[in-house]
Chain length 306, copies 2
Protein backbone atom coordinates (compact mmCIF):
# COMPACT_ATOMS: atom_id res chain seq x y z
CA UNK A 1 0.00 0.00 0.00
CA UNK A 2 1.24 3.47 -0.88
CA UNK A 3 1.56 6.42 1.47
CA UNK A 4 -1.42 7.10 3.66
CA UNK A 5 -2.40 9.67 6.27
CA UNK A 6 -4.11 7.39 8.80
CA UNK A 7 -4.76 3.78 9.68
CA UNK A 8 -8.33 4.72 10.44
CA UNK A 9 -10.57 7.74 9.98
CA UNK A 10 -13.77 7.83 12.01
CA UNK A 11 -16.60 10.06 10.81
CA UNK A 12 -18.82 11.37 13.62
CA UNK A 13 -18.25 12.00 17.33
CA UNK A 14 -21.42 10.64 18.90
CA UNK A 15 -21.28 7.71 21.35
CA UNK A 16 -20.50 5.25 18.51
CA UNK A 17 -17.67 7.31 17.01
CA UNK A 18 -16.16 8.25 20.37
CA UNK A 19 -16.19 4.62 21.52
CA UNK A 20 -14.62 3.50 18.26
CA UNK A 21 -12.00 6.21 18.79
CA UNK A 22 -11.38 5.10 22.37
CA UNK A 23 -10.78 1.50 21.28
CA UNK A 24 -8.68 2.47 18.25
CA UNK A 25 -6.50 4.80 20.35
CA UNK A 26 -6.06 2.05 22.97
CA UNK A 27 -4.98 -0.23 20.11
CA UNK A 28 -2.42 2.46 19.18
CA UNK A 29 -3.81 2.79 15.69
CA UNK A 30 -2.96 6.02 13.89
CA UNK A 31 -6.51 7.33 14.03
CA UNK A 32 -8.36 10.60 13.40
CA UNK A 33 -11.93 11.36 14.31
CA UNK A 34 -13.78 13.96 12.22
CA UNK A 35 -16.78 15.82 13.59
CA UNK A 36 -18.50 18.61 11.68
CA UNK A 37 -20.08 20.24 14.73
CA UNK A 38 -19.78 19.68 18.47
CA UNK A 39 -18.70 16.21 19.73
CA UNK A 40 -21.51 14.22 21.33
CA UNK A 41 -23.94 13.66 18.49
CA UNK A 42 -27.66 13.69 19.21
CA UNK A 43 -27.15 13.11 22.95
CA UNK A 44 -25.90 16.67 23.49
CA UNK A 45 -29.45 17.86 22.82
CA UNK A 46 -30.89 15.17 25.10
CA UNK A 47 -31.93 16.64 28.42
CA UNK A 48 -31.56 13.55 30.58
CA UNK A 49 -30.37 9.98 30.00
CA UNK A 50 -31.46 7.39 32.52
CA UNK A 51 -31.07 4.21 30.49
CA UNK A 52 -27.33 4.18 29.85
CA UNK A 53 -26.04 1.60 32.35
CA UNK A 54 -23.67 2.91 34.99
CA UNK A 55 -25.46 6.13 35.94
CA UNK A 56 -28.15 5.25 38.52
CA UNK A 57 -29.06 8.92 39.03
CA UNK A 58 -29.15 9.56 35.30
CA UNK A 59 -26.89 12.00 33.49
CA UNK A 60 -27.43 14.87 31.09
CA UNK A 61 -26.62 14.09 27.49
CA UNK A 62 -24.18 16.98 27.43
CA UNK A 63 -22.24 15.67 30.45
CA UNK A 64 -22.14 12.11 29.13
CA UNK A 65 -20.81 13.35 25.78
CA UNK A 66 -18.13 15.37 27.60
CA UNK A 67 -17.05 12.31 29.60
CA UNK A 68 -16.88 10.10 26.52
CA UNK A 69 -14.87 12.71 24.62
CA UNK A 70 -12.45 13.24 27.52
CA UNK A 71 -11.98 9.49 27.96
CA UNK A 72 -11.15 8.97 24.27
CA UNK A 73 -8.79 11.97 24.19
CA UNK A 74 -6.98 10.77 27.30
CA UNK A 75 -6.30 7.51 25.47
CA UNK A 76 -4.73 9.58 22.69
CA UNK A 77 -7.58 10.12 20.23
CA UNK A 78 -7.23 13.17 17.98
CA UNK A 79 -10.50 14.92 17.09
CA UNK A 80 -10.68 17.45 14.24
CA UNK A 81 -13.58 19.69 13.29
CA UNK A 82 -14.30 19.13 9.59
CA UNK A 83 -17.23 18.31 7.38
CA UNK A 84 -16.89 15.33 5.08
CA UNK A 85 -17.87 16.29 1.54
CA UNK A 86 -17.57 12.88 -0.13
CA UNK A 87 -15.74 9.55 -0.09
CA UNK A 88 -13.69 7.79 -2.76
CA UNK A 89 -13.80 4.07 -2.03
CA UNK A 90 -12.83 2.55 -5.38
CA UNK A 91 -9.27 1.78 -4.28
CA UNK A 92 -7.84 -0.05 -1.28
CA UNK A 93 -6.74 3.28 0.16
CA UNK A 94 -9.88 5.16 1.14
CA UNK A 95 -10.14 8.88 0.40
CA UNK A 96 -12.09 11.23 2.64
CA UNK A 97 -12.77 14.49 0.82
CA UNK A 98 -13.09 17.51 3.11
CA UNK A 99 -13.79 21.12 2.09
CA UNK A 100 -10.13 22.10 1.94
CA UNK A 101 -8.21 18.82 1.58
CA UNK A 102 -8.41 15.07 1.04
CA UNK A 103 -7.31 12.56 3.67
CA UNK A 104 -6.29 8.98 2.96
CA UNK A 105 -6.82 6.06 5.31
CA UNK A 106 -6.54 2.29 5.27
CA UNK A 107 -9.96 1.95 6.90
CA UNK A 108 -13.02 4.02 7.74
CA UNK A 109 -15.69 3.89 10.40
CA UNK A 110 -18.86 5.77 9.50
CA UNK A 111 -20.58 6.86 12.70
CA UNK A 112 -22.27 9.99 11.41
CA UNK A 113 -25.53 9.29 13.20
CA UNK A 114 -29.02 10.29 12.29
CA UNK A 115 -31.07 13.47 12.32
CA UNK A 116 -34.71 14.22 13.10
CA UNK A 117 -37.11 13.54 10.25
CA UNK A 118 -39.04 16.52 8.88
CA UNK A 119 -42.76 16.52 8.14
CA UNK A 120 -42.84 19.17 5.40
CA UNK A 121 -45.10 21.46 7.42
CA UNK A 122 -42.98 24.55 7.05
CA UNK A 123 -39.84 23.51 8.90
CA UNK A 124 -37.58 25.64 6.76
CA UNK A 125 -39.63 28.81 7.07
CA UNK A 126 -40.37 28.46 10.79
CA UNK A 127 -37.07 27.00 12.09
CA UNK A 128 -36.04 29.22 14.99
CA UNK A 129 -39.42 30.95 14.76
CA UNK A 130 -41.51 28.34 16.53
CA UNK A 131 -40.59 24.99 14.96
CA UNK A 132 -37.93 22.97 16.78
CA UNK A 133 -36.51 19.46 17.03
CA UNK A 134 -34.80 20.03 20.37
CA UNK A 135 -36.53 20.69 23.69
CA UNK A 136 -33.23 21.14 25.52
CA UNK A 137 -32.26 23.86 23.06
CA UNK A 138 -35.53 25.73 22.71
CA UNK A 139 -37.95 24.92 25.56
CA UNK A 140 -37.01 28.04 27.60
CA UNK A 141 -38.33 30.23 24.75
CA UNK A 142 -41.82 28.89 25.47
CA UNK A 143 -42.15 29.78 29.13
CA UNK A 144 -45.86 29.92 30.08
CA UNK A 145 -46.85 29.37 26.47
CA UNK A 146 -48.78 26.61 24.74
CA UNK A 147 -46.85 24.29 22.42
CA UNK A 148 -47.62 21.31 20.19
CA UNK A 149 -45.38 18.23 20.23
CA UNK A 150 -45.61 15.58 17.51
CA UNK A 151 -44.74 11.89 17.86
CA UNK A 152 -45.33 8.78 19.98
CA UNK A 153 -41.91 7.24 20.63
CA UNK A 154 -39.47 7.58 23.52
CA UNK A 155 -38.07 10.88 22.30
CA UNK A 156 -41.47 12.54 21.74
CA UNK A 157 -42.79 11.54 25.16
CA UNK A 158 -39.63 12.22 27.15
CA UNK A 159 -39.07 15.60 25.55
CA UNK A 160 -42.76 16.56 25.97
CA UNK A 161 -42.38 15.93 29.69
CA UNK A 162 -39.32 18.16 29.65
CA UNK A 163 -41.27 20.88 27.81
CA UNK A 164 -43.75 21.05 30.71
CA UNK A 165 -41.00 22.55 32.88
CA UNK A 166 -41.44 25.71 30.80
CA UNK A 167 -44.64 25.61 28.76
CA UNK A 168 -48.00 26.01 30.46
CA UNK A 169 -49.55 23.38 28.18
CA UNK A 170 -48.26 20.72 25.76
CA UNK A 171 -50.54 19.10 23.19
CA UNK A 172 -48.92 15.77 22.29
CA UNK A 173 -50.22 14.93 18.83
CA UNK A 174 -49.86 11.32 17.72
CA UNK A 175 -51.20 9.67 14.58
CA UNK A 176 -52.15 6.46 16.41
CA UNK A 177 -54.35 5.76 19.45
CA UNK A 178 -51.50 4.54 21.64
CA UNK A 179 -47.89 5.53 22.30
CA UNK A 180 -44.88 3.49 21.27
CA UNK A 181 -42.69 4.92 24.07
CA UNK A 182 -41.47 2.86 27.05
CA UNK A 183 -44.32 2.29 29.51
CA UNK A 184 -42.58 4.21 32.29
CA UNK A 185 -42.49 7.30 30.07
CA UNK A 186 -46.16 6.85 29.13
CA UNK A 187 -47.10 6.70 32.82
CA UNK A 188 -45.25 9.92 33.50
CA UNK A 189 -46.86 11.68 30.54
CA UNK A 190 -50.38 10.55 31.46
CA UNK A 191 -49.83 11.69 35.05
CA UNK A 192 -48.67 15.14 33.92
CA UNK A 193 -51.48 17.72 34.09
CA UNK A 194 -49.84 19.96 31.53
CA UNK A 195 -49.84 17.29 28.79
CA UNK A 196 -52.98 16.73 26.74
CA UNK A 197 -52.94 13.79 24.35
CA UNK A 198 -54.38 14.35 20.88
CA UNK A 199 -54.84 10.85 19.44
CA UNK A 200 -55.29 9.67 15.85
CA UNK A 201 -54.17 13.03 14.60
CA UNK A 202 -51.60 14.46 12.20
CA UNK A 203 -50.27 17.99 11.87
CA UNK A 204 -50.91 19.42 8.41
CA UNK A 205 -49.33 22.84 8.73
CA UNK A 206 -48.56 25.87 10.88
CA UNK A 207 -49.28 29.55 10.43
CA UNK A 208 -48.35 32.87 11.95
CA UNK A 209 -46.86 36.10 10.71
CA UNK A 210 -43.55 36.38 12.62
CA UNK A 211 -43.72 33.20 14.66
CA UNK A 212 -46.16 30.34 14.98
CA UNK A 213 -49.67 31.28 16.10
CA UNK A 214 -51.65 28.21 15.08
CA UNK A 215 -50.98 24.52 14.36
CA UNK A 216 -53.37 22.85 11.90
CA UNK A 217 -54.33 19.26 12.70
CA UNK A 218 -56.52 16.58 11.13
CA UNK A 219 -58.04 13.55 12.83
CA UNK A 220 -57.15 10.57 10.63
CA UNK A 221 -60.28 8.62 11.64
CA UNK A 222 -62.94 11.37 11.35
CA UNK A 223 -61.04 13.66 8.93
CA UNK A 224 -62.10 16.54 11.17
CA UNK A 225 -59.72 19.50 10.83
CA UNK A 226 -59.02 22.23 13.35
CA UNK A 227 -56.34 24.62 14.52
CA UNK A 228 -54.65 24.54 17.91
CA UNK A 229 -53.63 27.94 19.24
CA UNK A 230 -49.94 27.46 20.05
CA UNK A 231 -46.72 29.37 19.69
CA UNK A 232 -44.38 26.41 19.28
CA UNK A 233 -44.26 23.09 17.44
CA UNK A 234 -41.73 20.37 18.35
CA UNK A 235 -41.30 17.51 15.87
CA UNK A 236 -40.14 14.05 17.02
CA UNK A 237 -41.33 11.60 14.37
CA UNK A 238 -38.22 9.51 13.76
CA UNK A 239 -34.79 9.92 12.27
CA UNK A 240 -32.99 9.86 8.94
CA UNK A 241 -29.36 8.73 8.50
CA UNK A 242 -26.67 11.39 8.04
CA UNK A 243 -25.21 10.01 4.82
CA UNK A 244 -25.14 12.97 2.46
CA UNK A 245 -21.43 12.30 1.74
CA UNK A 246 -21.76 8.55 1.27
CA UNK A 247 -22.04 8.06 -2.51
CA UNK A 248 -23.18 4.83 -4.13
CA UNK A 249 -20.50 2.33 -3.14
CA UNK A 250 -21.75 1.57 0.36
CA UNK A 251 -25.03 -0.38 0.39
CA UNK A 252 -27.92 0.95 2.43
CA UNK A 253 -31.37 -0.32 3.34
CA UNK A 254 -34.55 1.16 1.86
CA UNK A 255 -34.47 4.05 4.36
CA UNK A 256 -30.85 4.90 3.64
CA UNK A 257 -29.34 3.34 6.79
CA UNK A 258 -26.02 1.62 6.10
CA UNK A 259 -26.13 -2.16 5.94
CA UNK A 260 -23.50 -3.76 8.21
CA UNK A 261 -22.93 -7.30 9.44
CA UNK A 262 -22.30 -8.46 13.03
CA UNK A 263 -18.70 -7.18 12.74
CA UNK A 264 -19.97 -3.78 11.50
CA UNK A 265 -18.44 -4.48 8.06
CA UNK A 266 -20.30 -2.69 5.24
CA UNK A 267 -20.47 -3.79 1.59
CA UNK A 268 -17.05 -2.16 1.04
CA UNK A 269 -14.10 -4.03 2.63
CA UNK A 270 -12.39 -1.85 5.23
CA UNK A 271 -15.39 0.46 5.59
CA UNK A 272 -17.33 -0.10 8.81
CA UNK A 273 -20.51 1.50 10.19
CA UNK A 274 -21.56 1.99 13.81
CA UNK A 275 -24.42 3.51 15.74
CA UNK A 276 -27.57 5.24 14.53
CA UNK A 277 -26.37 5.49 10.92
CA UNK A 278 -26.46 1.72 10.41
CA UNK A 279 -29.43 -0.63 9.97
CA UNK A 280 -29.60 -1.49 13.66
CA UNK A 281 -32.71 -2.82 15.42
CA UNK A 282 -32.35 -0.24 18.22
CA UNK A 283 -30.91 3.29 18.40
CA UNK A 284 -29.71 3.90 21.96
CA UNK A 285 -26.49 5.07 23.62
CA UNK A 286 -25.97 1.51 24.91
CA UNK A 287 -26.18 0.01 21.42
CA UNK A 288 -24.04 2.76 19.88
CA UNK A 289 -21.11 2.11 22.25
CA UNK A 290 -21.28 -1.63 21.51
CA UNK A 291 -21.23 -0.93 17.77
CA UNK A 292 -18.31 1.46 18.16
CA UNK A 293 -16.17 -1.04 20.08
CA UNK A 294 -16.84 -3.81 17.55
CA UNK A 295 -16.17 -1.53 14.56
CA UNK A 296 -12.80 -0.44 15.97
CA UNK A 297 -11.65 -4.01 16.66
CA UNK A 298 -12.86 -5.06 13.20
CA UNK A 299 -10.93 -2.19 11.59
CA UNK A 300 -7.82 -3.22 13.53
CA UNK A 301 -8.15 -6.83 12.31
CA UNK A 302 -8.79 -5.63 8.76
CA UNK A 303 -5.57 -3.60 8.73
CA UNK A 304 -3.52 -6.40 10.25
CA UNK A 305 -4.59 -8.66 7.40
CA UNK A 306 -3.94 -6.18 4.56
CA UNK B 1 -51.73 -18.58 26.76
CA UNK B 2 -52.32 -20.19 30.15
CA UNK B 3 -51.25 -18.83 33.52
CA UNK B 4 -47.68 -17.69 33.76
CA UNK B 5 -45.39 -16.27 36.42
CA UNK B 6 -43.57 -13.65 34.37
CA UNK B 7 -43.54 -11.87 31.02
CA UNK B 8 -39.79 -12.27 31.01
CA UNK B 9 -37.17 -14.14 33.01
CA UNK B 10 -33.57 -13.01 32.57
CA UNK B 11 -30.81 -15.44 33.50
CA UNK B 12 -27.60 -13.78 34.69
CA UNK B 13 -26.85 -10.39 36.29
CA UNK B 14 -23.76 -9.24 34.44
CA UNK B 15 -23.81 -6.07 32.32
CA UNK B 16 -25.95 -7.76 29.64
CA UNK B 17 -28.57 -9.12 32.07
CA UNK B 18 -28.71 -5.95 34.17
CA UNK B 19 -29.16 -3.79 31.07
CA UNK B 20 -31.88 -6.10 29.75
CA UNK B 21 -33.51 -5.84 33.19
CA UNK B 22 -33.23 -2.05 33.17
CA UNK B 23 -34.94 -1.82 29.79
CA UNK B 24 -37.59 -4.44 30.61
CA UNK B 25 -38.42 -2.70 33.89
CA UNK B 26 -38.67 0.65 32.11
CA UNK B 27 -41.06 -1.04 29.66
CA UNK B 28 -43.11 -2.13 32.72
CA UNK B 29 -42.79 -5.81 31.80
CA UNK B 30 -43.38 -8.25 34.63
CA UNK B 31 -39.77 -9.35 34.79
CA UNK B 32 -37.52 -11.34 37.11
CA UNK B 33 -33.75 -11.54 36.93
CA UNK B 34 -32.09 -14.70 38.27
CA UNK B 35 -28.46 -14.68 39.41
CA UNK B 36 -26.82 -17.68 41.02
CA UNK B 37 -24.07 -15.74 42.77
CA UNK B 38 -23.33 -12.03 43.19
CA UNK B 39 -24.73 -9.57 40.60
CA UNK B 40 -22.12 -8.12 38.26
CA UNK B 41 -20.84 -11.12 36.36
CA UNK B 42 -17.19 -11.32 35.43
CA UNK B 43 -16.65 -7.59 35.90
CA UNK B 44 -16.82 -7.88 39.69
CA UNK B 45 -13.47 -9.67 39.56
CA UNK B 46 -12.07 -7.07 37.17
CA UNK B 47 -9.74 -4.70 38.93
CA UNK B 48 -10.14 -1.67 36.71
CA UNK B 49 -12.23 -0.85 33.64
CA UNK B 50 -11.06 2.02 31.49
CA UNK B 51 -12.75 1.22 28.19
CA UNK B 52 -16.42 1.50 29.17
CA UNK B 53 -17.44 4.87 27.75
CA UNK B 54 -18.55 7.48 30.29
CA UNK B 55 -15.85 6.96 32.92
CA UNK B 56 -12.78 8.99 31.90
CA UNK B 57 -10.95 8.14 35.12
CA UNK B 58 -11.85 4.46 34.83
CA UNK B 59 -13.94 2.56 37.36
CA UNK B 60 -13.50 -0.65 39.32
CA UNK B 61 -15.54 -3.56 38.01
CA UNK B 62 -17.16 -3.93 41.41
CA UNK B 63 -18.31 -0.30 41.49
CA UNK B 64 -19.62 -0.41 37.92
CA UNK B 65 -21.59 -3.57 38.71
CA UNK B 66 -23.08 -1.91 41.79
CA UNK B 67 -24.14 1.13 39.78
CA UNK B 68 -25.75 -0.99 37.08
CA UNK B 69 -27.60 -3.10 39.66
CA UNK B 70 -28.83 -0.03 41.56
CA UNK B 71 -29.99 1.63 38.36
CA UNK B 72 -32.01 -1.42 37.26
CA UNK B 73 -33.51 -1.88 40.72
CA UNK B 74 -34.51 1.78 40.90
CA UNK B 75 -36.45 1.24 37.66
CA UNK B 76 -38.28 -1.61 39.40
CA UNK B 77 -36.25 -4.69 38.47
CA UNK B 78 -36.56 -7.62 40.89
CA UNK B 79 -33.42 -9.73 41.29
CA UNK B 80 -33.55 -13.19 42.93
CA UNK B 81 -30.65 -15.41 43.89
CA UNK B 82 -31.25 -18.82 42.32
CA UNK B 83 -29.38 -21.28 40.15
CA UNK B 84 -31.08 -22.44 36.97
CA UNK B 85 -31.02 -26.22 36.72
CA UNK B 86 -32.60 -26.66 33.29
CA UNK B 87 -35.03 -25.18 30.77
CA UNK B 88 -38.15 -26.64 29.16
CA UNK B 89 -38.67 -24.86 25.87
CA UNK B 90 -40.93 -27.26 23.97
CA UNK B 91 -44.07 -25.20 24.59
CA UNK B 92 -44.90 -21.55 24.04
CA UNK B 93 -44.73 -20.97 27.78
CA UNK B 94 -41.08 -21.34 28.79
CA UNK B 95 -40.21 -23.25 31.98
CA UNK B 96 -37.19 -22.33 34.07
CA UNK B 97 -36.37 -25.17 36.46
CA UNK B 98 -34.69 -24.04 39.69
CA UNK B 99 -33.51 -26.23 42.56
CA UNK B 100 -36.72 -25.84 44.56
CA UNK B 101 -39.36 -24.75 42.04
CA UNK B 102 -40.20 -24.15 38.41
CA UNK B 103 -40.97 -20.69 36.99
CA UNK B 104 -42.97 -20.04 33.84
CA UNK B 105 -42.44 -17.09 31.52
CA UNK B 106 -43.57 -15.91 28.11
CA UNK B 107 -40.00 -15.09 27.13
CA UNK B 108 -36.43 -15.63 28.29
CA UNK B 109 -33.18 -13.74 27.97
CA UNK B 110 -30.10 -15.86 28.54
CA UNK B 111 -27.28 -13.62 29.75
CA UNK B 112 -25.40 -16.16 31.82
CA UNK B 113 -22.00 -15.06 30.64
CA UNK B 114 -18.80 -17.00 30.27
CA UNK B 115 -16.17 -18.42 32.60
CA UNK B 116 -12.40 -18.74 32.36
CA UNK B 117 -11.20 -21.70 30.34
CA UNK B 118 -9.13 -24.30 32.19
CA UNK B 119 -5.91 -25.85 30.90
CA UNK B 120 -6.05 -29.21 32.69
CA UNK B 121 -2.81 -28.53 34.58
CA UNK B 122 -4.19 -29.34 38.01
CA UNK B 123 -6.77 -26.57 38.43
CA UNK B 124 -9.03 -28.71 40.63
CA UNK B 125 -6.32 -29.83 43.01
CA UNK B 126 -4.57 -26.46 43.30
CA UNK B 127 -7.57 -24.06 43.23
CA UNK B 128 -7.13 -21.80 46.25
CA UNK B 129 -3.68 -23.31 46.76
CA UNK B 130 -1.81 -21.37 44.12
CA UNK B 131 -3.90 -21.61 40.97
CA UNK B 132 -6.26 -18.71 40.31
CA UNK B 133 -8.30 -17.09 37.55
CA UNK B 134 -8.73 -13.79 39.37
CA UNK B 135 -5.98 -11.30 40.19
CA UNK B 136 -8.37 -8.98 42.05
CA UNK B 137 -9.38 -11.87 44.29
CA UNK B 138 -6.04 -13.50 44.95
CA UNK B 139 -3.13 -11.18 44.10
CA UNK B 140 -2.67 -10.00 47.74
CA UNK B 141 -1.81 -13.60 48.72
CA UNK B 142 1.32 -13.35 46.59
CA UNK B 143 2.94 -10.30 48.14
CA UNK B 144 6.69 -10.31 47.35
CA UNK B 145 6.39 -13.72 45.72
CA UNK B 146 6.99 -14.91 42.18
CA UNK B 147 4.00 -15.93 40.09
CA UNK B 148 3.34 -17.25 36.61
CA UNK B 149 0.59 -15.78 34.44
CA UNK B 150 -0.64 -17.54 31.29
CA UNK B 151 -2.19 -15.91 28.23
CA UNK B 152 -1.71 -13.16 25.65
CA UNK B 153 -5.01 -11.30 25.42
CA UNK B 154 -6.31 -8.18 27.13
CA UNK B 155 -7.21 -9.98 30.33
CA UNK B 156 -3.88 -11.76 30.72
CA UNK B 157 -1.85 -8.61 30.16
CA UNK B 158 -4.02 -6.24 32.20
CA UNK B 159 -4.23 -8.63 35.14
CA UNK B 160 -0.50 -9.37 34.99
CA UNK B 161 0.15 -5.66 35.37
CA UNK B 162 -2.18 -5.65 38.36
CA UNK B 163 -0.31 -8.62 39.87
CA UNK B 164 2.90 -6.56 39.93
CA UNK B 165 1.36 -4.38 42.65
CA UNK B 166 1.88 -7.36 44.97
CA UNK B 167 4.17 -9.96 43.44
CA UNK B 168 7.88 -9.26 43.15
CA UNK B 169 8.01 -10.93 39.74
CA UNK B 170 5.50 -12.07 37.13
CA UNK B 171 6.45 -14.49 34.35
CA UNK B 172 3.91 -13.94 31.56
CA UNK B 173 3.87 -17.19 29.60
CA UNK B 174 2.38 -17.04 26.10
CA UNK B 175 2.28 -19.75 23.45
CA UNK B 176 2.98 -17.30 20.61
CA UNK B 177 5.78 -14.78 20.00
CA UNK B 178 3.53 -11.73 20.23
CA UNK B 179 0.63 -10.61 22.39
CA UNK B 180 -2.94 -10.24 21.19
CA UNK B 181 -3.77 -7.60 23.82
CA UNK B 182 -4.48 -3.93 22.99
CA UNK B 183 -1.24 -2.12 22.14
CA UNK B 184 -1.56 0.27 25.08
CA UNK B 185 -1.60 -2.72 27.46
CA UNK B 186 1.40 -4.27 25.71
CA UNK B 187 3.34 -1.03 26.11
CA UNK B 188 2.58 -0.95 29.81
CA UNK B 189 3.56 -4.59 30.28
CA UNK B 190 6.84 -4.23 28.36
CA UNK B 191 7.69 -1.11 30.41
CA UNK B 192 7.06 -2.93 33.69
CA UNK B 193 10.30 -4.19 35.27
CA UNK B 194 8.51 -6.86 37.25
CA UNK B 195 7.06 -8.59 34.16
CA UNK B 196 9.23 -11.05 32.22
CA UNK B 197 7.80 -12.34 28.97
CA UNK B 198 8.20 -16.07 28.27
CA UNK B 199 7.41 -16.42 24.54
CA UNK B 200 6.46 -19.49 22.51
CA UNK B 201 5.81 -21.42 25.66
CA UNK B 202 3.03 -23.50 27.22
CA UNK B 203 2.52 -24.56 30.82
CA UNK B 204 2.36 -28.33 31.14
CA UNK B 205 1.77 -28.71 34.88
CA UNK B 206 2.41 -27.48 38.38
CA UNK B 207 3.80 -29.15 41.48
CA UNK B 208 4.15 -28.55 45.19
CA UNK B 209 3.13 -30.32 48.37
CA UNK B 210 0.69 -27.89 50.03
CA UNK B 211 0.75 -25.09 47.50
CA UNK B 212 2.47 -24.46 44.21
CA UNK B 213 6.27 -24.52 44.24
CA UNK B 214 7.07 -25.00 40.58
CA UNK B 215 5.42 -24.39 37.21
CA UNK B 216 6.49 -26.69 34.36
CA UNK B 217 6.83 -25.10 30.95
CA UNK B 218 7.73 -26.23 27.44
CA UNK B 219 8.96 -24.10 24.58
CA UNK B 220 6.79 -25.03 21.58
CA UNK B 221 9.54 -24.21 19.08
CA UNK B 222 12.53 -25.91 20.71
CA UNK B 223 10.59 -28.42 22.87
CA UNK B 224 12.91 -27.46 25.73
CA UNK B 225 11.29 -28.12 29.11
CA UNK B 226 12.01 -26.46 32.40
CA UNK B 227 10.46 -25.49 35.71
CA UNK B 228 9.90 -21.94 36.92
CA UNK B 229 10.14 -21.50 40.69
CA UNK B 230 6.85 -19.79 41.54
CA UNK B 231 4.19 -19.97 44.22
CA UNK B 232 1.23 -18.90 42.09
CA UNK B 233 -0.19 -19.59 38.65
CA UNK B 234 -2.87 -17.33 37.09
CA UNK B 235 -4.67 -18.66 34.02
CA UNK B 236 -6.19 -16.29 31.43
CA UNK B 237 -6.48 -18.27 28.21
CA UNK B 238 -10.03 -17.48 27.12
CA UNK B 239 -13.56 -18.23 28.18
CA UNK B 240 -16.26 -20.88 27.90
CA UNK B 241 -20.00 -20.11 27.85
CA UNK B 242 -22.02 -20.72 31.03
CA UNK B 243 -24.67 -22.94 29.45
CA UNK B 244 -24.79 -26.02 31.67
CA UNK B 245 -28.60 -25.62 32.01
CA UNK B 246 -29.27 -24.99 28.34
CA UNK B 247 -30.29 -28.38 26.94
CA UNK B 248 -30.47 -29.16 23.23
CA UNK B 249 -33.22 -26.87 21.96
CA UNK B 250 -31.16 -23.70 21.68
CA UNK B 251 -28.57 -23.83 18.90
CA UNK B 252 -24.98 -23.01 19.72
CA UNK B 253 -21.80 -22.58 17.70
CA UNK B 254 -18.96 -25.12 17.75
CA UNK B 255 -17.61 -23.68 21.02
CA UNK B 256 -20.99 -23.77 22.75
CA UNK B 257 -21.78 -20.05 22.48
CA UNK B 258 -25.47 -19.40 21.74
CA UNK B 259 -26.28 -18.41 18.18
CA UNK B 260 -28.38 -15.24 18.02
CA UNK B 261 -29.33 -12.87 15.22
CA UNK B 262 -29.10 -9.06 15.16
CA UNK B 263 -32.22 -8.88 17.37
CA UNK B 264 -30.66 -11.37 19.84
CA UNK B 265 -33.26 -13.98 18.86
CA UNK B 266 -31.99 -17.57 19.31
CA UNK B 267 -33.21 -20.64 17.41
CA UNK B 268 -36.16 -20.88 19.84
CA UNK B 269 -38.82 -18.15 19.37
CA UNK B 270 -39.13 -16.04 22.50
CA UNK B 271 -35.71 -17.07 23.80
CA UNK B 272 -33.07 -14.37 23.43
CA UNK B 273 -29.35 -14.33 24.26
CA UNK B 274 -27.16 -11.35 25.23
CA UNK B 275 -23.57 -10.69 26.21
CA UNK B 276 -20.63 -13.06 26.58
CA UNK B 277 -22.78 -16.20 26.32
CA UNK B 278 -23.70 -15.54 22.68
CA UNK B 279 -21.64 -15.91 19.52
CA UNK B 280 -20.56 -12.26 19.53
CA UNK B 281 -17.45 -10.95 17.74
CA UNK B 282 -16.32 -9.06 20.89
CA UNK B 283 -16.80 -9.64 24.62
CA UNK B 284 -16.69 -6.28 26.38
CA UNK B 285 -18.89 -4.35 28.82
CA UNK B 286 -19.79 -1.95 26.00
CA UNK B 287 -21.01 -4.76 23.75
CA UNK B 288 -22.84 -6.55 26.58
CA UNK B 289 -24.96 -3.47 27.41
CA UNK B 290 -25.88 -3.06 23.74
CA UNK B 291 -26.92 -6.72 23.54
CA UNK B 292 -28.97 -6.43 26.73
CA UNK B 293 -30.92 -3.40 25.51
CA UNK B 294 -31.70 -5.04 22.17
CA UNK B 295 -32.72 -8.36 23.78
CA UNK B 296 -35.17 -6.61 26.14
CA UNK B 297 -36.82 -4.62 23.36
CA UNK B 298 -37.00 -7.78 21.22
CA UNK B 299 -38.62 -9.70 24.09
CA UNK B 300 -41.14 -6.87 24.52
CA UNK B 301 -42.03 -6.98 20.81
CA UNK B 302 -42.25 -10.77 20.90
CA UNK B 303 -44.77 -10.68 23.76
CA UNK B 304 -46.85 -7.94 22.14
CA UNK B 305 -47.24 -10.14 19.07
CA UNK B 306 -48.12 -13.37 20.91
Amino acid sequence: MTDFDYDLVIIGAGPAGLTAGLYAARARMHVLLLEKAVPGGQIIVTDWIENYPGFPEGISGFDLAEKMKLQAEEMGLKIDTAEVHSLNLQQDLKEVVLTDKTLTAKSLIIASGASPKKLGIGEDRYMGKGISFCATCDAPFFKDKTVVAIGGGDTAVQESIYLTKFAKKVYLVHRRDELRAAKILQERAFANDKIEMVWDTVVTGVDGLFGIEGVHIRNVKTNEEKTLAASGCFIWVGTLPNTQFLGDDVQTDEYGFIRADARMQTSVPGVFAAGDVRDTPLRQVSTAVGDGAIAAVSAEHYIENL
